[in-house]
């Protein structure tokens, strides 16, 4: 039986579940000092003075530094908009690092930060896109003359199509600001000694960080080592640069001692990058059959206080993917990036695609409202047929690889009783004992498998490939070294499965190592649902290359032709003559012994490195449905069922694929019903604790009912598309479509995320539409 596609238990778990995992904060070299930041309590202010006198006298404090003391270059970032390592002259959001304290303990460091006195001259804050783009708005950068730092206008607004269309609709949507809030907050430990710099970091892309730190410090990359040990979740929040990763090495060099930073949750809520925070104006034109004629999208991206390179790309991805699963003959897109006095925005699980899916899937339901047509029928009217791939969209970025969108909907309706639910919905509306029932659909599609050459370079990465090195050990076991940097995805397991499949080596004799720039070939990292589609393909190709060499060695020893050698159950044998066989261990040992090898083969042939490239992105898709119950008296919305049909092409491990979907769906439900990071008019965060930021837990989420279809990815030989972000992409519109469906009979056409009980209650009162 093939091990690819099998429900293999994670190799990672025994270590983690028995407390033997090792996270940055667990690492404690002798002499370690502790770093803490003085963070801005103002959203927008000039810094008049920073008084560190009292902090320097605090027991246990080793030193206190401001930007003026260290004279650091700005962090790597968007040219012209780089963010300072420590605030210089001005602060632009609550939580921005202003000064840094190093002490003998984390307690003394925290004491020290409380004694630093910052004298602010408060400026008026802008906390929304509307405020930031208003005439005479306060400017984050006076010298730019505007808070809008990038803007792309549409080439053709297709106004003639709209003018002539039987129906048009304009929809305004807010994709609420969220924070991923991984269990492990940001952490790093820098040890800069005579032999060079080692940084342990909770990060998703160790080589990326290594390369940037070394360039920033001006030290050769060979003397700069980044280690990402166990990392407790990232969701995109750990691929971007924040001051700690750069300041800690500097202070370690100054002090000649290790410097550790382990962020508190309170800090993480305001200083780790947020996600989403996009507003959209969407116009659609459609005919009497629900066929969409034109789509116009204007996406305004809130960048927060500093423009992050990844954050800048969010509306690019949104507008590239705005047409979703549908044939839309006329699409016009425009977007802008706007600075506000809030926490900076970057990638968060889905990164631009949840925003795209939300807008097009809300638009589909608006068509159904207008035409009084079933939402599944509206979608069927518009799907890209399954024989139309590759499919060139309006965007150069998005050439859909393959898909079967209607097939996914068919399978979805197969695993749910839609007709029965509709009857129940009708009956419940008039029965005071029963909740309102809502059924919401989402036919979603996302861009993943980042990516083809050039795709990640645009976000500042060295390349878009992934590195895989396989080294067969003399005993026939295998170690895979990869630039992928998993932090919960289970890549150690999936890569071992793929290698086992193609090497013919037992799964239990394959280890996967990652997260150390000193031992791993230059890699890219884990982001953009890329590790199976890119790195996994590399594991397969490296395995095949090694097997070819192993067969040559076996053929030489067994006096046969290499093409007659087969690999099964850990042995290499001559086809048809199982008695003529060598174990993998024997072949592996011979591979290191000159005298055992064919004349044209050097020792070390069972060791190969591949930088795996892929020709296109992958486009996972699916169809989700949400069944929600709304308490008629309180407006409380509780999801009864989530039906999930995913199409991620080939599944390596159904257990892990399902786990990825469950986690993503949880985050999608969180965005739709629970989470929103908000600020008051002065830019003070109002949801900076888990009391106010409603991240749901397992008791607050439904069980999921899953189905699956399989449309292979034609651009890699595994056929895999990636599934890391699917749930968070496909879920929010399904949930909101369900919420609105539950109250449609009252004439309601929209409720913003998160659909809180109070909002729904107000709608039930007729308070808003």
């Amino acid at each position: 039986m093939s091990i690819v596609g099998a429900k293999v238990i994670r190799k990672e778990d025994p270590n983690l579940l028995t407390g033997r995992g090792q996270f940055v904060d667990d690492i404690q070299p002798i002499g370690t000092t502790h770093m803490a930041f003085v963070r801005s309590t103002e959203a927008h202010a000039l810094i008049r003075n920073i008084d560190v006198t009292a902090a320097l006298e605090c027991e246990g404090v080793v030193g206190v530094w401001t930007a003026a003391d260290l004279n650091l270059p700005a962090l790597p970032g968007v040219p012209g908009l780089e963010r300072p390592a420590l605030a210089t002259g001005k602060v632009r959001f609550v939580g921005e690092a202003i000064a840094v304290v190093v002490a003998e303990s984390k307690y003394a460091a925290a004491d020290g930060t409380e004694l630093v006195i910052v004298d602010y001259e408060t400026l008026e804050a802008v906390t929304s896109i509307d405020e930031a783009t208003a005439d005479n708005a306060p400017l984050l950068y006076e010298e730019l003359g505007s808070n809008t730092v990038a803007e792309v206008t549409t080439a053709d607004d297709h106004q003639a199509i709209f003018d002539g269309a039987p129906h048009t609709e304009t929809i305004k949507l807010v994709n609420n600001r969220c924070t991923a809030a991984p269990i492990e907050t940001n952490a790093c430990l820098a040890d800069y000694g005579p032999a060079g710099l080692t940084v342990w970091a909770s990060f998703q892309a160790p080589h990326h960080l290594r390369n940037r730190i070394s360039a920033w410090l001006g030290i050769p990359q060979d003397q700069c080592r980044v280690i990402t040990p166990d990392v407790g979740g990232g969701f995109g929040q750990k691929i971007n640069f924040t001051p700690e990763f750069f300041v800690a090495p500097v202070l370690s060099k100054i002090l000649n001692r290790p410097v550790k930073y382990s962020q508190t949750r309170s800090e993480a809520m305001t200083s780790m990058y947020h996600g989403r925070a996009q507003e959209q104006e969407v116009d659609i034109a459609f005919d009497d059959n629900g066929k969409i004629l034109a789509l116009r999208v204007f996406a305004s991206q809130d960048m927060g206080g500093y423009a992050d390179g990844t954050g800048m790309g969010m509306p690019v991805l949104t507008t590239a993917m705005s047409a979703g699963c549908y044939v839309i003959p006329n699409v016009s897109i425009a977007w802008r990036n706007v600075l506000t006095n809030t926490t900076p925005i970057a990638a968060y699980r889905g990164a631009g695609r949840p925003e795209a899916t939300y807008l097009i899937e809300r638009a589909m339901d608006h068509i159904s409202y207008k035409l009084d047509m079933d939402p599944t029928e509206v979608r069927r009217q518009n799907y890209i047929p399954k024989d139309s791939f590759p499919y060139q969209t309006h965007s150069e970025l998005a050439v859909y690889d393959s898909g079967n969108f209607e097939g996914a909907l068919d399978e979805l309706l197969n695993i749910m009783d839609y007709e029965g639910l509709k009857e129940e919905q009708n009956a419940n509306r008039t029965n005071p004992e029963k909740p309102l029932l809502g059924i919401g659909f989402s036919s979603w599609l996302e861009i993943a498998g980042f990516g083809p050459p050039g795709s990640l370079e645009g976000f500042g990465h060295l390349g878009s490939w992934e590195s895989v090195q396989i080294r067969i050990q003399p005993d026939g076991s295998a170690i895979i070294y990869t630039g992928a940097s998993p932090h919960g995805q289970g890549t150690v397991t999936t890569f071992a499965q793929i290698a086992s499949e193609y090497l013919g080596i037992d799964f239990d004799k394959i280890s996967v190592r990652h997260g150390d720039t000193a031992t791993i070939p230059q890699g890219i990292g884990t982001m953009g649902s890329r590790q199976v589609a890119v790195g996994g393909e590399g594991v397969k190709n490296a395995s095949l290359k090694i097997v070819e060499n192993a067969k040559s060695i076996a053929a030489h020893k067994l006096e046969a032709n290499p093409e007659d050698i087969e690999v099964t159950d850990g042995n290499l044998f001559v086809k048809g003559t199982p008695s003529k066989s060598l174990s993998w261990a024997e072949v592996a040992t011979f591979s290191f012994q000159r005298l055992e090898l064919p004349e044209d083969m050097d020792p070390g042939s069972l060791d190969t490195t591949i930088l795996q490239e892929v020709p296109n992105f992958s486009f996972p898709s699916g169809a989700y449905a949400c069944v929600i119950e709304i308490d008629k008296q309180t407006g409380d919305a509780r999801i009864r069922d989530m039906y999930l049909v995913d199409d991620c092409g080939t599944v390596i491990n159904p257990l892990l694929a399902e786990g990825q979907v469950h986690g993503g769906v949880a985050q999608g439900i969180a965005q739709a019903l629970f989470e929103e990071f908000t600020y008051d008019e002065n830019g003070q965060p109002t949801t900076a604790t888990f009391i106010d930021y409603l991240m749901p837990g397992a008791p607050d989420l439904p069980s999921y009912k899953s189905g699956r279809i399989n449309t292979p990815n034609p651009n890699n030989s595994l056929g895999a598309k990636g599934i890391g972000e699917s749930g968070s992409v496909g879920t929010p519109p399904a949930v909101i479509n369900a919420v609105v469906d539950a109250v449609r009979h009252l004439g309601v056409t929209h409720i913003d995320m998160p659909a809180t009980p109070q909002k729904i209650w107000e709608v039930l009162q007729g308070g808003s539409k």
């Binding site: 307690y107 949750r265 309180t634 409380d636 009391i691 409603l694 607050d700 009980p757």
Partner: protein
């Protein structure tokens, strides 16, 4: 999330705790289950110089039938309150309310006295204490005194317990066989209530409200209606009467007023 420096003084008895409080005055804070104090200390919203740990004062942990009343030691854990057969029989409202506090881990650490002394209007137990018209025994340097639950909660996070005092016992009149109801409206399983209510039936019925004011409060007008035999609809309509619920990120004032009515009706009807 890193507390300021403090001294830790474990007390083995009520007397030792009182003597430590006398010694350190307002520099000291009592630590029982820690579920209110420790988060505040980690956020440095509370910075006591001395933490007096009464967590191991065993003789303040009990649930005893005293005839007309049930006596509960202040250090009795929520879990014990929740599972007590005595309470299930004689004050089922309190046992049920305790089952809604936090999650099992919280309930295995948190104490009834700690929750009451925190005086949080968003907590469940104060509402039950108000509804059942409990009496609270406070020990201090000059001995014990009792206050009614009505007088116990004095301001936001403030109670009648003075700096040199210790809540030691809660006395609750038996409500054996009477009707009762408890409703808690929240978003996540572990959240505090956006609004909640504890309703105790009987000759002198009580309705304690959660998160409907700056202190735990009683819905007095609704209670009067209930006492005079009004219908559940009429009682519920008065649930917010005379109260000033807060507006915050989880619900505005008018939503809370609405929820109060719905929840009281449900508590009465179910």
């Amino acid at each position: 999330m890193i507390p300021a420096k403090f001294d830790y003084k474990p007390a083995q008895s009520k007397e030792e705790a009182l003597s430590l409080l006398a010694e350190y005055g307002d520099d000291a804070k009592l630590l029982a289950g820690g579920h209110s104090l420790l988060p505040l200390m980690k956020l440095r919203l509370a910075t006591p110089e001395v933490v007096v740990d009464i967590g191991s004062v065993d003789d303040l942990s009990y649930i005893t039938d005293k005839g007309d009343v049930i006596a509960i030691g202040a250090l009795t854990k929520h879990r014990q309150v929740e599972q007590s057969d005595i309470l299930k029989e004689h004050v089922p409202l309190l046992a049920h309310s305790a089952s809604h506090v936090g999650d099992p881990q919280v309930r295995n650490r948190g104490t009834i006295g700690g929750s009451l002394c925190h005086g949080d209007p968003a907590s469940d137990l104060p509402a039950a204490i108000l509804a059942t018209r409990a009496t609270l025994v406070i020990s201090g340097p000059s001995g014990d005194r009792t206050v009614t639950s009505d007088d116990f909660f004095t301001d936001f996070w403030e109670t009648e317990v003075k700096e040199d005092e210790l809540l030691t016992e809660i006395l609750i009149p038996k409500c054996t066989g009477e009707k009762w109801g408890f409703q808690k409206f929240n978003r996540r399983a572990q959240d505090w209530a956006i609004v909640g209510c504890a309703v105790q039936g009987g000759d002198n019925p009580g309705i304690g409200m959660v998160n409907m004011g700056s202190t735990p409060v009683r819905a007095a007008e609704a209670e009067n209606a209930l006492r005079s035999g009004s219908s559940s609809e009429e009682v519920a309509e008065l649930a917010d009467s005379g109260l000033t619920p807060p507006t915050d990120i989880h619900g505005n004032e008018s939503y809370r007023r609405h929820l109060a009515k719905i929840l009281v009706q449900r508590a009465l009807d179910n």
